[in-house]
Symmetry: C2
Subunit: 104 residues, 2 copies
């Protein structure tokens, strides 16, 4: 029975929160994304997205770059190598959980 | 891009918490389990397991039965029909998330 729940208990708490999981999924599918693109796609408030990004940045999963485009401030985010590895591990665990739930 | 994150945002918050996800996974694989079996398998404290079970019970996902066996109190838990359906929906969403993360 132990094997059934092991992958669940191993899930990375940083990524497992729904909002951060959505952010990581978006970033895993793009080389980089701007703050506003993410905010609009996820329908998050600025504050909510900022807090999640800060958590992901502190975990070393996301790199945030502040610059200017057309004289306007531009914040872009990318997954770090560590972040991509953590996301891959997370997704592999989800796959195990799905298989076990299906009795495979 | 929307399609990438939609399943994540649809995940049932009640089930998504790791401890409850582990409980639901266990119960989905057994007709019924005693409180002590679950506690020992999950290495949870009595208090922690009780709180999670209460949340799952209030959501209508788990039925808790208190009885006696060999004159000792026995608490057993089963998934309700609603709980099984919610877990199936949750697992289907996880599968979509895994597929999208793999670019399928």
């Amino acid at each position: 029975m132990k094997t059934t729940i092991l992958p669940t208990l191993q899930l990375d708490r940083i990524i497992h929160e729904k909002g951060r999981m959505a952010i990581m999924s978006l970033l895993a599918a793009s080389p980089e994304l701007s703050f506003t693109e993410m905010r609009d796609t996820l329908s998050m408030t600025d504050g909510n997205l900022s807090v999640h990004l800060k958590t992901l940045q502190e975990a070393g999963y996301v790199a945030v770059t502040k610059s200017y485009r057309d004289r306007k401030p531009l914040t872009t985010c990318t997954l770090t190598k560590t972040g991509r590895e953590a996301f891959t591990t997370y997704i592999n665990l989800l796959e195990q959980i799905v298989r076990q739930a299906r009795g495979e």
